[in-house]
Amino acid sequence: MMEKYDVIVIGGSAAGLTAAQTARRHYPDKKILVIRKEERVLIPCGIPYIFGSLEGPKQNLIPDMAYEKMNLGLQIDEVVNVDREKRIVETKNGQFAYDKLILSTGSYPAMPPIPGHEKEGVFAIIKDVDYLTRLQDKLHAVKNVVVIGGGFIGIEIGDEIKKSGVENVSIIELEEHCLSQSYDEEFCIEMEEHLRSRGIRILTGSKVMSIEGGQQVEAVKLADGSTIPAEVVILGIGAVANSDLAKKIGLRIGLTGGILVDRAMRTNDTHIFACGDCAEKVSFFGGQPSPLRLASIATLEARVAGANLFGIRREAPGTIGVWGTAVGEMGLGTAGLTEKMAKAHGYNVVSAVNESVNRHPGKLPGASKIKIKLVFEARSGVLLGGQIRGDASTGEITNAISACVQSRMTAEQIAMFQLGTHPLITASPIAYGIVNAAEAAIGKMVK
């Protein structure tokens, strides 16, 4: 007999598991099943660290204990079809009836069609334990690695591979600077210099024309005619929605290839929701389609979808674009628009930078310099974004700034914060970065 569930979630990564947990919290009596094809699920953002800091992919897995703890059914199986009329999910091994369905089928790595991309030794970053284990094994025996793409995946993987002992690691970035989509130039340059100090070769403003060699990759050829030897080439240029199942069952697809959803994360089928990398996104700033694929967005959307299954309770505000990266001791964080991006969006901006120390006095152990840049709309004073460079504390400062952006707070409101401080864990109350950056921006606005 076919099993019937109130809720079925397809996909068990960050969005799928979060959606199922949210559904459980909001609907304690409902019968919920997660269907995923992976026996073990990798932590997506932890993937770079399997090449250096961790022993391998098996140390980077999402624990399955939540399923038992929250009374969520788990079926390791591959979905082959959905009968939308009868509301039945068909898998390789059976059929499962649903009342509400959530698609969280994730993304694929994007592959640029560079001639030679099919050669042995060319790898994309695929969320698959066996594939990444093969890459890791291969890396043990090579001297030259080229990473194409200087976004956060590229720089983190490049640094970890270097850390694992590979002699020559080069990162090739097409834009003028690594990370330039999410950080203003001064932050990008600091990170590039930091990477160079760790022995990594950074080539910016460089386009890869072809991947050279016989069956096996031997080198990467650049637009200026130069070649860089490489036994392994890793592609880290981004991700695109995996909307294969949605297309097959006739759901509407958006312009960037994701499943089209409204702000309540509903697809064009009233019984089907979508969230995470597979769903089409709009920007928090102006509402245009957004190509960003980040855990911060995926899990927010999952908390919206899971809560809305049996009545609309939440709406997604659009993609702010908050994330951090770290290389060695240096952490970078970004939330919202950079000054450059804000101008490209058409905003008139005022920005201010503050540098402070995250202990007081600064001679205390663990003290580190923190640089904060805030970007405001010039007339209203509304915060559009912020960037931070510092140590591990960067992460939570980034999140505080993201909360301000999402609340559309003004420079004046930020300057009026009541702050809790302590010598051993924060900056001084008289030199507090976010507040002083807001005050500096207000000074420029009133001129």
Binding site: Y108, P109, A110, M111, P112, P113, I114, P115, A124, I126, D128, Y131, L174, K207, L235, I237, G238, V240, N242, D244, K247, G250, R252, I253, L255, T256, G257, S283, Q288, P289, S290, P291, M341, A344, H345
Partner: protein
Amino acid sequence: MHKLLIIDDDVDFLEITSVYLKDKGYAVETASSPEEGLQKTKSVEPDLVVLDVMMPEGYEGFEVARNIREQLELTELPIIILSCIHDRKQVPYRFAPDKDYLPIDVFLDKPVKPEVLLEKIEELLGERRVNPSQIL
């Protein structure tokens, strides 16, 4: 009336798709090889190009897209790639629009429902056109 150019080495596909799109009010021209495609892009001056990739087996369509942008300097001409390359090659990654490496507007996997192709054409030719390559 908008003019479309479909470049594909599958002549049956060309015929069926032409009939469908003509019925929807478009003027449709076809080309069955990469060379003819590029030449007609120049001579016919289409408003939008629908382009196959494997003609017959390689990545010829990617080259045509690059040539439209670089050789013909038609940087604004909307291009939809319509290809079965992902399914045929069974690859664990996806080719996707990229302003530098794959300068197209939309990548659709074959087989595609005619109404889905029509929807994308309408989106790209509509007044509220969002140029995906310019999305920030």
